[in-house]
Amino acid sequence: MTLLKLDKVDKIFGGLRAVSGVSFSVEPRSVFGLIGPNGAGKTTIFNVITGVYKPDGGRISFNGRDISGLRPAEVAHAGVARTFQNIRLFRSMTVEENVMVAGHHLHQSSILDAVLRTRAHADDEAALSRRAQELLEVFGLRQYAGEVSGSLPYGSQRRLEIARALMLRPELLLLDEPAAGMNSQEAGDLKTQIRFLRDEMKLTVVLVEHNMSVVMGVCEKIHVVDHGQTIAEGSPAEIKTHPKVLAAYLGQEEEGAA
């Protein structure tokens, strides 16, 4: 069964049709690419999926359940986690705290437990810390656990955002330009990490990305949008040579050119 399905989704801002009639399906345990020139509406699509914006038309289904218009926290609890285009860490909190914030499923005790410092509370805190440390270890961030997250180098901040998202135990992970600002070495490591997320952690990944080496290297299927509309969908090989895609990225050939 399809994990994520968008069905003719629209999003309008004032007079601007940011997203118009976009439909696609994402299979479980795959890496799905969402690409397009700047301003094409990719992040808007992410925002609609995750409930930051309400869709003005169409439906979004996750695991067969209609999640259109749910609030972001509800979408997160349903199993969809994300990272942001401009890293949105809790900057003055420590690395470990950033990850722990997302640990709701591990934290069953109540505010009263916290106030009274019951055993239940202490156990929950310990479990949260343990799990956070495990995730940090996976992403090579364990040694920074007590550091203020805003002081981390850029690449580490991006990895931390992913670790934090994984604390939600999601089935679907939306990565918004994870390779931004990376050199080819780091981008190569990112490709490996994404494959790891799919193969070892059994996740499904949807990737918005401009770095074509990463996109072509890890995505099984790619969906291309421009000006809010779908212009192509297919395998990396198909997309690489698709005339509409080339036109969108490189511009139309000039009239009268030889």
């Binding site: 801002f13 992040t43 925002n47 930051v52 914006y53 942001f84």
Partner: protein, 305 residues
């Protein structure tokens, strides 16, 4: 019926004063996204400036000899007070707000509260906390028609407010400064990159807003007869609500909001109870912010994620 007309006239004149003050709030917020808490105090000091200017220009001599203060002198008093307030507004911007302009949102807010508090209490020390009678810069003449009393002071309020608002409109629409102000309120950083001198434009905004508030202060003194150092607190807050009601950042909105608040207050005092005249403004504020925070004429802003 004449009662209703009377209340409406009183409400609109009060509202015109609120509108003059609200313009200052809305212009500053439009550009800096800052609630200038101290603006109410600029209104108050403008009023006192009028008081002292009239005294310096010898209003007591005129009153002693039974003559009326000449109109041209009243205009001079107005101009002097507006200039003084403009200077105060610019100083506040330069000394208190500019150093924290780039700080996270909370810091300028606290600074503004501090400036407001400072001016209130400094005024109480300098001017004494006791209310004073406002000099008759315009000598009151009453007209009655069909049970409705209207004074030349109310007429003056309408005329002065109208003239100043028209002047502002011309300034904002037709001059370079006005164009710059509009550009800054849409996108501060882009305006800076386009070569607009943001500091000068911001100073101009504060100067103009403060001058308008001072005019409001003099009109308020003439209308309400007494002034005191804390007059800016409540009136300033009401004018701010007016700006929000009309759509903060929106200039015609400030005028509309001011008139509506003035009417609401007057009608509440007249038909409900004078005890609740202040509460109605707070209620309007709460309703607006909860139901339609962008105000009557404002636009909804989506935050970019």
């Amino acid at each position: 019926m004449s009662e209703l007309v009377q209340q409406i006239i009183n409400g609109l004149s009060l509202g015109s004063i609120y509108a003059l003050i609200a313009l200052g709030y809305t212009m500053v917020y439009g550009i800096l996204k800052l609630i200038n808490f101290a603006h109410g105090e600029v209104f108050m000091i403008g009023s006192y400036a009028g008081y002292y200017a009239a005294t310096v220009f010898g209003i007591e001599r005129y009153q002693a000899s039974g003559a009326t203060f000449p109109l041209y002198m009243a205009v001079v008093v107005l101009v002097v007070a507006m200039a003084a307030a403009a200077l105060l507004g610019v100083s506040i911007e330069f000394l208190a707000y500019r150093p924290v302009r780039s700080a996270p949102r909370l810091t300028p807010l606290i600074t503004a509260i501090g400036v407001s508090l400072f001016l209130q209490n400094a005024a109480m020390l300098v001017f004494s906390p006791n209310p004073r009678a406002y000099p008759a810069i315009i000598h009151e003449v009453r007209f009655e028609a069909g049970g409705v009393i209207i004074t030349n002071i109310k007429l003056t309020i309408f005329i002065v407010a109208l003239l100043l608002m028209f002047g502002l409109h011309v300034l904002v629409q037709k001059t370079w400064t006005g164009r710059a102000m509009r550009a800054l309120s849409v996108n501060l950083d882009a305006a800076k990159l386009m070569g607009i001198d943001t500091n000068r434009t911001i100073q101009a905004t504060f100067a103009i807003g403060s001058a308008l508030a001072a005019a409001g202060g003099i009109l308020f003194g003439l209308d309400q007869i007494t002034i005191n150092p804390l007059m800016g607190v409540l009136t300033g807050l009401k004018a701010f609500v007016a700006a929000v009601l009309g759509g903060i950042g929106n200039i015609p909105g400030a005028v509309l909001g001011g008139l509506l608040i003035g009417l609401a207050e007057q009608l509440t005092a007249g038909y409900l109870s004078p005890d609740y005249r202040d509460a109605i403004t707070f209620l309007i504020l709460i309703f607006v912010l909860i139901l339609k925070p962008e105000g009557l004429l404002g636009v909804v802003r989506q935050e970019k994620v």
